[in-house]
Subunit: 394 residues, 2 copies
């Protein structure tokens, strides 16, 4: 007697659980150090020491009624101001605390944006490959997910197909930069072209089309690559951010949404998003961790660790003959399956205790995702196993 | 261009903001100690010292990758086990960790239950007076709120009207015990009668009707009154709990949902609720505070503080001639307006810098709510002002 709407999720969930259980069984059978699990995007680099110090300082110095109490549904004003000031300094933006709403991570931030914007039947465009949960989030508001085909050359935005998929019904477009699952970073030129197309379509259709930029990996960019700050290129942009990866706090559920003054009817939009945060049941982002991140706006995790993993894995695999997209951001490597059906390849890899996620889990068959947010030892010890796997194909 | 569905909320929000702004202005004008603000349900008694110790201990002793990392969407298994064991010991229940899902407070817990159960057009029954946010939560899933008239004698459940309002379309019934805004505690006899009616209707209609028991005030009960544990009286019960009041952690957003094995098709229901927790965007309840509450299952805030406030306010106001429901739980006093339109009374009270919430904000005109989770000094100093107010009527 659960809701009809929930029933399709039950079946899909069993598949995810089966994969998870298989990984656990493998670790029990062969020993965790003999299993090379690249399936989970759970950061392995610890949160900066400063987070711990900040939390202790807050507990020691502040009134617990304040620390653990309700605040505005948008979050503590001084926390929002500290973050806005930091963004303004780094990106030349001009946000005040009024433009920020603290949220229960990026997952909740995306839901806040979609609840604010989407009526039943509205179309929301996503670019394949994409995090399949976007589909659940869009369905939460009875929106219709419209998928842009991947550009399998570069895995940058396929703007030709995008232009065709934009319709009268398009209410919003979601991009994710740096990108899960490909590790690609969309360049300034790419974002500018995207913005130009959206501007033109807004005019043609006579209504706003919102760009939702999902940026939990913003700080995870390598080789000096720049991640463009999207509000500077397109007016009707909302940015969704999370500290899950930049400060390794995924379990804490802390992030924010930015709605700039430039957004059409921004006052009402900010108010509606704040109400969405409240009536979703979240009410507000968790208080203690809000206070802690405000003290750590300049902190970062050890990016060098991910970078070494990235280079070692990319170089190792390409040398063996695998074709990979060179990852410039996030902590994912996107590898072309040497056989058409990548699920066969995923199965073959298991023989060597290597766990990877099939691209069809990101709406892009023929590829697999490796999450390299694992120990360096796992990377190093996996390479001889990948070598054996490679010999089956090359 | 915000969603049509969000527009009605914008207008209502201005009214709430106006009230809040008025209170702030009053405090600035007359000094905060000369304003008697009984409008907010924000606990003023601090969290137990043990919460602070537990958090510090966790930060010092545990691996940050574990403390701040992802866990199962239902929460850390050992946290759920600690809570289940504590409940079993106190209430003679038989829960395992599988029956608990940690949530982002009770607000999110209620949404998890409703998302799990409610399809568009399904009816959800609530008892007036009630927390108006229930309406937002039910609308999130396109459910239809059906309101049971208040029993203005006792403010216990009006079961005669309830029986009439139960239809083929009833999917769920929400009760809140101890009760906001009346301070009433529903007795065992009352819950038994409610259960009997629901059992009968389940049989008559041939499908499950779920009872959702919203219990953030469970531990706030006075005069030795017992708060019945509802799963023992009715099979298809889900309990929604929060540590907001019992441990004074409202800003932390930490609570749980219980779905007992006795619930129809409990396995699928638990799975669906766990998925609902994930796809709502919450993903999981905040991790550090999950770990902290597990270490504090036996802790409580200083209930004596609330109790003294309760007795002082109730005795003071009844002596002056006001008619109040004797509060046995939560931290609210429910007072009958001496004039039919309680909004007039709310305005009159402002002359004496007394802020209270009109009953129409809880779908029950003719009454006002006083939240006595304020300092004892506020209570004491407000009484002479209430005396002046009383003289306008009696």
């Amino acid at each position: 007697m659960i809701a009809e709407k929930m029933k399709p999720y039950l079946q899909n969930n069993s598949a995810i659980r089966a994969m998870f259980e298989e990984g656990k069984k493998m670790a029990e059978q062969y020993g965790a150090d003999k299993v090379y699990d690249f399936s989970l995007g759970n950061p392995n680099v610890p949160a900066p020491e400063k987070i711990k110090e900040a939390i202790k300082e807050i507990l020691d110095e502040e009134d617990p009624v304040f620390v653990h109490g309700y605040m505005s549904n948008a979050g503590f004003p001084h926390v929002r101001k500290a973050i806005a000031d930091n963004l303004n300094q780094r990106f030349g933006t001009n946000f005040s605390e009024e433009n920020l709403i603290m949220t229960v991570g990026a997952g909740s931030g995306l839901n806040v944006c979609l609840k604010t914007l989407v009526d039943p039947g509205d179309e929301v465009i996503v670019f394949a490959p994409y995090f399949l949960e976007y589909g659940s989030y869009i369905r939460n508001y009875d929106g219709v997910l419209v998928q842009v085909d991947p550009d399998t050359e570069s895995f940058q935005l396929n703007l030709d197909d995008f232009e065709k998929k934009l319709t009268e019904k398009t209410k919003a477009v979601i991009i994710n930069n740096p990108h899960n699952p490909t590790g690609v970073v969309y360049s300034e030129a790419m974002i500018s072209r995207l913005a130009a197309i959206m501007e033109e379509k807004q005019k043609a259709f006579g209504h706003a089309i919102y760009l939702i930029s999902d940026e939990p990996y913003r700080e995870l960019a390598f080789d000096g690559v720049e991640v463009p700050f999207v509000t500077k290129y397109y007016r009707n942009t909302m940015v969704v951010y999370s500290y899950s990866k930049s400060l390794s706090l995924p379990g804490e559920r802390i992030g924010y949404v930015i709605i700039p003054d430039e957004v059409e009817n921004s006052g009402d939009t900010i108010t509606a998003a704040t109400i969405a945060n409240r009536i979703s049941g979240c009410v507000n982002a968790p208080s203690l961790i809000q206070l802690a991140v405000a003290k750590c706006v300049d902190s970062e995790v050890d990016l060098g660790y991910y970078d070494r993993n990235r280079r070692t894995l990319y170089e190792g695999l390409t040398k063996m003959g695998f074709t990979c997209v060179k990852p410039e951001g996030a902590f994912y490597l996107w590898l072309k399956s040497p056989v058409e059906d990548e699920k066969q390849f995923v199965e073959a890899a298991k023989k060597y205790h290597i766990l990877v996620v099939p691209g069809s889990s990101f709406a892009c068959a023929g590829y697999v995702r490796l999450a390299y947010c694992v120990s360096y030892e796992t990377i190093v010890h996996s390479l001889p196993e990948f070598e054996k796997l490679a010999k089956e194909y090359f």
